[in-house]
């Protein structure tokens, strides 16, 4: 009897105590997440999102994330950049075993081999350097200083020079390899990604991710920069209109054509277009390399199926086939270049304009699609052209494709750990299968978790009136609320069912997927801030700008109301007060005057600015759109002071 009574009493006590506790917990979750649709529990915030401490350590895994690769001239070795391991991996191609991890700089991007076969060069995006690796000893023998965010690299056939695409500083370094020093710096497009030399070595072609500066509310125009190797000057800027995110490039063996990957975003169409398909389309650019050569765009999508996020391209030895990785669709498209040549050879300009948006053409030149593991990125062909190696980034694996049979004939495991929640989130983020007809992945608009320099019309009205500036997802942790309207108290709300309803137009993520996706997004960090000295010291201009940023009085001593001081709405450490504010930026058709105060991390690379992207530069925020002194009191500043303020703003943020 007694134990029964004890159990009854305990049960009653539990109900009495836990019910309010449960009720309180639910209220807390709803309040924090802003997500009314129940279901969220304590785990995401109190476990998955912990950035430091024991839980974070337990969660931490050492992934490799192979990004790009090179094959030794004899075909026996693969050299693979392991993005998350800060290493160059040396792999025995036939045995499929990893021979060596060579530590390089942070966030290695590309690897190329010197023509003598004895040296590899690895670009380190977060170290702003290129590692020179002696392959015989496996030792980094030199580190070359280049521009900011070096991505694609290429060595000239004579082995004398190295071309580096600096994705953050938007320029091209030409390094004198004999002296180990940069010799020249040329202006690239925006966020240059890949460099490839023409087969004759006379020119280097450099792709760009972001559009060149274009007027507000116009479609992107993105360039492929051509450098004359002889003059070491830019000789041509081939423009790809209404396209951007040009990542990979390769040439036909004859060198007459360059093929690049591209995205054609219909960013000015209302997002309701997603429900009809063709919102973002993906394809290739074919650039005739001769004088006055044409620039042709062709899609790799199909009428009801899209192949998101093409990343790399290689052309087989005979120049008849091109292979393109679709990192958002987990396939490699195989393209018959003979068909492409026939198609475009005699086509008049009007036809080519139609082809650029034509979903029905790909059936003619896409030979097949080969399925790969998660997030296929870099490609490399064996010297005999028989094997195609594909870096499966989120598998920590290399797929081996037989270029005759056009099928995966093997894989090389690089030895990564099993996926944790963040890794699962990364896969979700990069895969387009959660969007209607696979039209885009999160990555399509947020490459590397960053922004894409475009504005989109995401309003549900379908009118195309209000565009919003697409922001970076890096460094978002602890900056809620989200969206320019500040409507979403958490990313669980932002990326939940509303997201599926308005944007992806398909089934929403499951709760578990949502946990993973948010965990991944909130793990993204900006690169170390390139404008702040390693010592943390500010330059004279930055220091003066800081004083202006924090000032409480105008130059002639008048007090500035707190709401008109920079520091009030943008206080450290995140440089946002997490509030909405009306800074006079509302447009005529905006439905609200107040917008979320953005954090200011790594602002320098993120033009355009303001909620609708109307400010093409930081200066324009105040010169063109700050005349009423509402976005901070600035009209008493001289131009020199405004320059100082901008220099200070460019130092904010960095790696978190």
């Amino acid at each position: 009897m007694r134990p029964r009574w004890v159990a009854v009493i305990l049960a009653v006590a539990a109900v009495v105590i836990l019910t309010p506790g449960f009720y309180f917990s639910r209220r807390h979750v709803r309040f924090i997440s802003g997500n009314e649709s129940a279901g969220l529990n304590c785990m995401p915030c109190h476990l998955y999102l912990q950035q430091e401490g024991l839980l974070a350590q337990l969660r931490e895994r050492d992934y490799l994330s192979p990004l790009h690769l090179a094959v030794s001239p004899d075909g026996t070795r693969l050299y693979i950049t392991a993005e998350e391991a800060d290493a160059l991996l040396v792999v025995d191609a036939s045995a499929g075993t990893v021979l060596r991890h060579i530590a390089v700089g942070r966030q290695p991007h590309s690897v190329v081999l010197h023509p003598d076969g004895g040296t590899a060069y690895v670009s380190n995006r977060w170290s702003n350097s290129v590692s020179v690796v002696d392959l015989a000893s496996g030792v980094v023998v030199d580190t070359l200083a280049v521009g900011a965010g070096p991505a694609g690299i290429a060595v000239t056939p004579d082995g004398a020079s190295l071309y580096v695409a600096n994705a953050t500083s938007d320029d091209i370094s030409i390094v004198d390899l004999a002296r180990g020093q940069e010799r020249r710096r040329l202006a690239a497009g925006r966020s240059p990604q890949s460099v490839e030399l023409t087969p004759d070595g006379e020119s280097a072609f450099i792709t760009s991710r972001y559009t060149n500066a274009v007027p507000h509310r116009t479609t992107p125009v993105t360039e492929v920069t051509v450098v004359s190797a002889d003059a070491e000057r830019v000789s041509r800027r081939a423009l790809l209109r209404s396209a951007h995110d040009i990542e990979g490039i390769d040439f036909t063996p004859a060198g007459d054509l360059a093929v690049v990957t591209l995205v054609r975003p219909k960013n000015l169409l209302p997002a309701t277009q997603v429900g009809r398909g063709w919102m973002l389309t993906f394809g290739i650019g074919v650039i005739e390399t001769g004088p006055d050569g044409r620039v042709v765009q062709l899609l790799l999508d199909e009428v009801n199926a899209f192949f998101a996020d093409p990343f790399d391209v290689v052309i087989g030895a005979q120049g008849r086939r091109a292979f393109v990785t679709h990192s958002g669709a987990d396939v490699v498209s195989v393209i018959d270049l003979d068909v492409v040549r026939d198609l475009i050879e005699a086509a008049p300009a009007e036809s080519l304009a139609v082809y650029a948006d034509h979903l029905g053409l790909s059936a003619r030149y896409v030979v097949t699609r080969i399925r790969t593991g998660a997030n296929p990125k870099g490609l490399a062909l064996s010297p005999d052209g028989r094997r195609l190696y594909v870096a499966e980034r989120f598998e920590d694996r290399i797929a081996v494709i037989d270029t005759e049979a056009l099928e995966v004939v093997g894989t090389i495991e690089l030895g990564g750990p099993s996926p944790n929640r963040i890794r699962r989130g990364a896969r979700l983020f990069h895969r387009a299968d959660h969007t209607f007809q696979g039209q885009f992945s999160c990555r399509s608009c947020h490459p590397e978790g960053h922004h894409d320099a475009l504005t989109y019309d995401l309003e549900p009205d379908g009118l195309g009136l209000n565009v919003v500036n697409n922001l970076s997802l890096r460094g978002l942790a602890y900056t809620a609320p989200y969206k320019w309207t500040g409507k979403n108290a958490s990313l669980y709300r932002q990326c939940g069912f509303r997201f599926a309803k308005w944007l992806t137009r398909t089934e929403p993520y499951t709760l578990d997927e949502l946990y993973s996706l948010v965990a991944y997004i909130l793990s993204l960090s900006h690169e170390p801030n390139r404008n702040r000295a390693a010592s943390g010291d500010l330059t004279g201009a930055q220091e003066r700008g800081k004083v202006l940023f924090e000032r409480e009085r105008t130059g002639d001593g008048r007090p500035i109301p707190p709401e008109n001081r920079c520091i009030t709405c943008h206080p450290p450490p995140r440089f946002t007060n997490f509030q909405l504010a009306d800074v006079g930026s509302g447009g005529p058709s905006d439905t609200q005057e107040e917008f979320d105060t953005p954090h200011l991390d790594n602002l320098y690379g993120q033009a355009p600015y303001l909620h609708d992207g109307r400010a093409a530069t930081l200066e324009e925020i105040w010169t063109k759109f700050g005349g009423d002194n509402r976005h901070g009191v600035v009209n008493d500043l001289t131009k020199a002071q405004l320059n100082d303020l901008v220099e200070y703003l460019k130092t904010l943020g960095g790696e978190r």
């Binding site: 521009g147 500083s169 320029d171 020249r184 710096r185 040329l186 202006a187 060149n212 500066a213 360039e223 920069t225 051509v226 003059a231 000057r233 830019v234 000789s235 041509r236 800027r237 404008n531 201009a541 320098y604 093409a616 530069t617 200066e619 324009e620 010169t623 063109k624 001289t638 131009k639 020199a640 405004l642 320059n643 901008v646 220099e647």
Partner: protein, 370 residues
């Protein structure tokens, strides 16, 4: 009475020169020194494809020649002119200055509406609203190393092309009297800026150090002594070559060799006018663009070019006390000269009524006019 002194000196000079000019010069010839004497000029105008006859600036870029006019930018390449206007991306139709960045080949263009970078066909505009440029009126531009300098109506601006940082130099952080800058020269790690009322400012890039050269008498309305320093604090253009600083003003010319200043005026030298629009040196020779002709001078020998009323060239060569005057069948397009640059053995001249290039010159004085 002071207004008489110029004409009097001019009268004396003209009288002397006419005398010399009419005699045979075999007995005594002026030293030609390093100054070539051009006698064949070819002129380009709108008839040849220029967008306007009024050429404000000229800059040579290898085989190309860039000309800024008051109605757009023109480039001469492979024997033909091509024009660019605002529809192409030019910041304003009135182009005031041009420089070519030797390292990259990027062309920097100063206009009345901002600064352009033309890079392999891509146009970028930097103006006072979208960038840190001090002012949209860009009188002078010079690109050297990592920096592009712009002399604007509200201070000198410097762009670090690698970091995107803009810095403004004006009366608040330099010895400028007023922020209105007219010209800039940059090269070999040293920058010179011609500033209204501020004389010439010198900046050593490596040391980040400024100094200024001023007119020692400190007065606008006079020059107290001709050789005591700059002839005037209102400077319009500056050039530095072979260790010689040349400063142009609307009041005469100054030359500084690092130790000694010399002043030159239209009444005491063959300088065609005190009103100097532009100066550019090549080696030891400065080419001085005035509102009444073109002069070349190496510190010893003067060669001046004017177009006479019959459209022929009037060439005067003077060295020390000796001078000769000659006529050439062709002449510069107009005596109102706004710019000059050099392409191999050719000299290009921007005038208010067309662009001229000097294509043939007399090797030595003894051959002049024969």
């Amino acid at each position: 009475m002071r207004r008489l002194r110029g004409p009097i000196a001019a009268a004396l000079l003209v009288t002397t020169m006419s005398f010399i000019g009419t005699r045979h010069t075999t007995a005594q010839e002026p030293q030609q020194g390093s100054v070539p004497v051009y006698h064949r000029w070819q002129t380009f105008t709108t008839a040849d494809g220029l967008p306007s006859d009024k050429a404000m600036a000229v800059r040579v870029d290898g085989d190309r020649v860039w000309v800024g006019t008051d109605h757009g930018l023109a480039v001469y390449e492979e024997g033909r002119w091509r024009s660019y206007g605002t529809e192409d991306g030019l910041a304003h139709d009135v182009v005031l200055s041009i420089d070519v960045h030797l390292e990259t080949g990027d062309v920097w263009i100063g206009t009345l509406g901002g600064l352009n970078r033309w890079s392999a066909g891509r146009w970028e505009t930097f103006d006072q609203f979208n960038s840190g440029l001090a002012n949209d009126v860009v009188y002078g531009v010079a690109a050297d190393g990592d920096y592009v300098w712009a002399a604007t109506a509200a201070g000198a601006s410097r762009l670090n092309v690698r970091t995107g940082e803009w810095t403004i130099f004006d009366e608040k952080n330099t010895a400028m009297h007023e922020p209105w800058t007219y010209g800039v020269h940059a090269g070999d790690g040293i920058v010179y800026i011609a500033a209204w009322g501020g004389g010439v400012l010198e900046y050593e890039v490596a040391a980040d150090r400024w100094r200024d050269y001023r007119d020692p008498d400190g007065e606008m309305e006079i020059d107290l002594f001709p050789h005591d320093g700059l002839v005037h604090d209102i400077t319009t253009s500056v050039s530095y070559e072979n260790g010689i600083l040349w400063a142009a003003t609307y009041f005469g010319l100054s030359r500084y060799d690092g130790a000694r200043w010399r002043g030159y005026f239209d009444h005491d030298s063959p300088l065609t006018s005190n009103f100097i629009n532009f100066v550019r040196a090549r080696g030891p020779v400065a080419w001085i663009c005035t509102d009444q002709g073109l002069s070349a001078f190496d510190g010893t020998t003067w060669v001046t070019y004017q177009r006479d009323s019959l459209a022929a060239g009037a060439v005067e060569i003077q060295s020390g006390d000796v001078s000769v005057r000659r006529r050439s069948a062709t002449a510069i397009a107009h005596n109102y000269v706004l710019g000059v640059d050099f392409q191999g053995e050719t000299v290009w001249v921007a005038t208010a009524q067309g662009v001229s290039r000097g294509v043939a010159y007399w090797e030595s004085i003894s051959l002049v006019g024969r």
